[in-house]
């Protein structure tokens, strides 16, 4: 079912090919996106509740986009090769784990540059919940990017070809944005669906670290919608360790589910019929 040897072989192969196919482009993209986002939202963050929340939402969306974009074509472009190599003895779990390992490294690098760029433009709070806020922000950015990259691997495993994968990607991105709970208030089924999105948990983690419920962030009432005001504090943004652990835990859980679903999807695609 799983072989460390094969995982190593495929990891070396994937990283070798990625380097030859100029994988550094993904890091450059991450720098550009982070610079754009941070320069626009950075100035107003930590000045008012709404602008801070919007800023984090933009950063979370950028991380999700970077992650999915990294891996959305990684498996689907190789379906014929996978089928052939599966016949020769390839273990699908090893193949998926090799892809996940490569994404781990790439996302780690991207998270470093995204957080580095953000730090240039955004004056983050320093006091975190369990440790330094910088560490907590970095871990959240990494989990969002890496989780989304693994979700990209899952989508790529499910999609039959690169065109199908690229068609699927906008739907998933839109779902992530809507389910973050920032743009719309979620209730009923949508609230439940939001539990399986990285955006919800990413926002929860960011909000908790930044202590969004703290009264030091004044409400900025929009002139267009003067009646809109913050009625009550949102529990998911409470600055408590439980919130942060829950958010990270869900991200890791979703990430593991995506790995399992990727393997299952490939097994179904390559089963003898």
């Amino acid at each position: 079912m799983f072989s460390i040897k094969q995982t190593t072989v495929y990891f070396k192969k994937i990283s070798r090919i990625a380097i030859r196919e100029k994988a550094w482009k993904f890091v450059i993209f991450a720098v550009i996106i982070a610079a754009l986002v941070a320069s626009i939202v950075g100035e107003d963050m930590f000045t008012a509740y709404e602008s801070t929340k919007s800023g984090f939402f933009t950063i979370a969306s950028a991380c999700i986009w970077i992650g999915i974009f990294n891996s959305i074509q990684s498996v689907c472009k190789e379906h014929d090769i996978i089928r052939s190599e599966y016949r020769q003895g390839m273990k699908l779990t090893s193949y998926v784990l090799a892809n996940v390992s490569w994404q781990f490294l790439l996302c780690l690098l991207q998270s470093c540059v995204v957080f580095g760029v953000c730090m240039i433009f955004i004056d983050f709070n320093t006091e975190g919940i369990i440790t330094s806020a910088y560490v907590e922000y970095f871990v959240t950015i990494f989990l969002l990017t890496f989780g989304s990259a693994v979700m990209g691997i899952m989508l790529s495993s499910v999609a039959g070809n690169p065109t199908a994968a690229m068609t699927l990607m906008p739907f998933v991105l839109i779902l992530q944005l809507i389910m973050s709970g920032v743009l719309f208030e979620l209730s009923g089924l949508s609230e439940k669906v939001a539990y399986i999105t990285f955006s919800k948990w990413g926002m929860s983690a960011f909000g908790s670290i930044a202590d969004l419920n703290n009264a030091r962030y004044p409400m900025k009432i929009s002139a267009v919608y003067p009646m809109v005001e913050r009625l009550e504090e949102e529990a998911c943004y409470d600055c408590v360790a439980g919130n942060l652990y829950t958010a990270w835990g869900w991200c890791i859980g979703l990430l593991l589910c995506c790995i399992v679903l990727s393997v299952l999807s490939l097994k179904i695609k390559n089963r003898d019929s």
Binding site: V9, R16, I81, R87, Q88, D272
Partner: protein
């Protein structure tokens, strides 16, 4: 009777003498190997009855059972003659034979027959064990190893093992038989080709009982009281039997292939001919086991569909459209294949490098080893694709248009490489639309040894067998001078052919039926 319902005889091969044999263990010290020749009766040795196969066992009836030979197909069946103790086949008791003949058991390679009391795990002292095989190596000697209760019995190719098996199908350290809590058990030491106990594949560890039969590579091992009897009993050569009744899609609504029966043996270089939509790719997928058909694919007597997991690596495919990663180098591609296909336990890093080097030399890409796949020409990429398949232990190679998109010289060279692979003991099956380019440079004769023609019938719109035989026979059968002219004969008029597919399908059926009657 409609044409499609007519019985089609199993394709008789000119030299298709399958020598079936029965390895019999009873109260005698040595296993007896009895060649099966036609119908034979089985019973205990006695003055009152004279059976063809006599066993020394009181629990066996005087006329216990019969081996029935289907002369046409060369298959054997076993029936139990209402014996008192019955016969167990692969652990299940056979119902006794009745007059309607509904319970004859078709014997397959490696089937284990036992005459015993009902608790097979605690055999009767006079129980009888029989192993049916088509591939017994005549004159091969039985060895025995007396089991010592305390120590592990290590089995493998390596000289350090307790039982050393000189068989390339056996890993260096293949298996360990040990006693644990008064119970014998066998453990697969992550071997390349696995272990089968009583015909079933072992996953990790398995408990063993007295009279259990183990197959390790081509070596048969029998736990017989306190002795392990073993014999390198099987031929290394491959034999592929394809028997497809039909292949349907859309939940059985559309039939793509019907009545495809043929056999190929090692060193056969088989050309598959057929018009577009005749079912060539469907046939390939059925043989590969990827899209199963209603029928069976036997490789060395083992059913591919039933043992897909362990046997899928034995049949390799060189696809029409190449499955290679363009940004990888040739050497890296092949080295990774070697890492996946060849177990670390059996092959050191140096062995793998050596194997990759030899394979590159064999297909003529040694000078391209540091080139990226994307830098290669179409023909060179196909050679790499063939090399990737050659690294493993495939017995059958199926090549889907390996010569497409190549110039005449490259086509011939590609076919020569494939022919050489076949000559080295493999079965190579090739779909080609330029078969007449595959000729021997010296003799000018075709490189192919067999031709299989699949034609799409205008009556039922599905693929049927229109010919299987040698190259000269094919040319004679279709009345053509070149192999590619066969396509002109069988292709429909709207594809530029003469539209005589149904004529040849019927002609071939008649030929087979006539040959069948002659044999009767």
């Amino acid at each position: 009777m409609r044409n499609e319902e007519r019985t089609v005889f199993y394709t008789p091969q000119e030299n298709r003498e399958r020598s079936a044999a029965l390895i019999v263990l009873d109260t005698r010290d040595e296993p007896a190997v009895i060649p099966l020749q036609g119908n034979m009766t089985l019973g205990r040795i006695s003055d009152k009855s004279a059976c063809d196969i006599c066993v020394y066992s009181k629990i066996t009836g005087r006329r216990h059972g019969e081996f029935i030979c289907d002369g046409m197909a060369g298959e054997y069946y076993y029936i139990d003659n209402h014996s008192m103790n019955g016969t167990y086949v692969n652990g299940s008791k056979l119902p006794p034979y009745d007059e309607r003949g509904s319970v004859a058991h078709k014997l397959r390679e490696g089937d284990i027959l036992r005459i015993d009391k009902s608790r097979l795990e605690d055999p009767h002292p006079e129980s009888v064990l029989m192993i049916f095989t088509y591939s017994y190596v005549k004159g091969s000697r039985w060895m025995s190893y007396v089991v010592n209760d305390s120590s592990d019995i290590r089995i493998g190719r390596d000289r350090n093992n307790t039982i050393i098996l000189d068989d390339m199908m056996v890993s260096r350290m293949h298996a360990v038989i040990r006693q644990s809590n008064q119970q014998w058990q066998v453990e697969d030491m992550q071997s390349q080709n696995g272990i089968r106990v009583n015909g079933r594949e072992v996953c990790g560890c398995q408990a063993l009982c007295n009279h259990d039969v183990l197959l390790i590579g081509n070596t048969l091992m029998i736990l017989w009281s306190h002795t392990i009897l073993y014999n390198h009993f099987r031929e290394q050569e491959g034999k592929l039997s394809v028997a497809i009744k039909k292949k349907t899609v859309n939940f059985g609504r559309k039939t793509l292939l019907k009545n495809i029966y043929f056999e190929a043996e090692s060193t056969d270089f088989v050309l598959i001919l057929g018009g577009s939509g005749a079912g060539k790719t469907t046939l390939i997928n059925a043989i590969l086991g990827e899209k199963k058909a209603d029928g069976e694919i036997l490789l060395d007597g083992q059913d591919l569909y039933k043992n897909f997991k362990s046997m899928k690596t034995k049949i390799g495919l060189v696809p029409q459209f190449l499955n290679l990663r363009l940004s990888d180098k040739v050497r890296e591609t092949l080295m990774d294949v070697a890492e996946i296909k060849l177990h670390r336990r059996d092959y050191s890093k140096e062995d793998k490098i050596q194997r990759v080097r030899e394979t590159m030399e064999r297909v003529g890409v040694q000078n391209l080893s540091e080139h990226l796949i994307s830098q290669l020409s179409g023909g060179q990429k196909k050679k790499v694709s063939v090399a990737a398949q050659l690294i493993g232990f495939q017995k059958v190679f199926i090549c889907d248009e390996p010569d497409s998109g190549l110039d005449a010289a490259s086509r011939r060279q590609q076919m020569e490489i494939l022919k050489e692979i076949a000559d080295n003991g493999k079965i190579v099956m090739v779909i080609s639309h330029e078969p007449d380019d595959a000729i021997d440079r010296l003799t000018g004769e075709s490189l192919f040894t067999k031709v299989l023609v699949i034609a799409k019938s205008a009556n039922d719109q599905c693929g049927h067998m229109a010919f299987y035989g040698d190259v000269d026979g094919a040319k004679q059968f279709f009345g053509v001078g070149r192999l590619q002219d066969i396509m002109l004969e069988i292709n429909p008029a709207y594809e530029g052919g003469k539209g005589r597919a149904d004529y040849y399908i019927e002609k071939y059926k008649d030929k087979i039926n006539r040959r069948g009657r002659k044999q009767i």
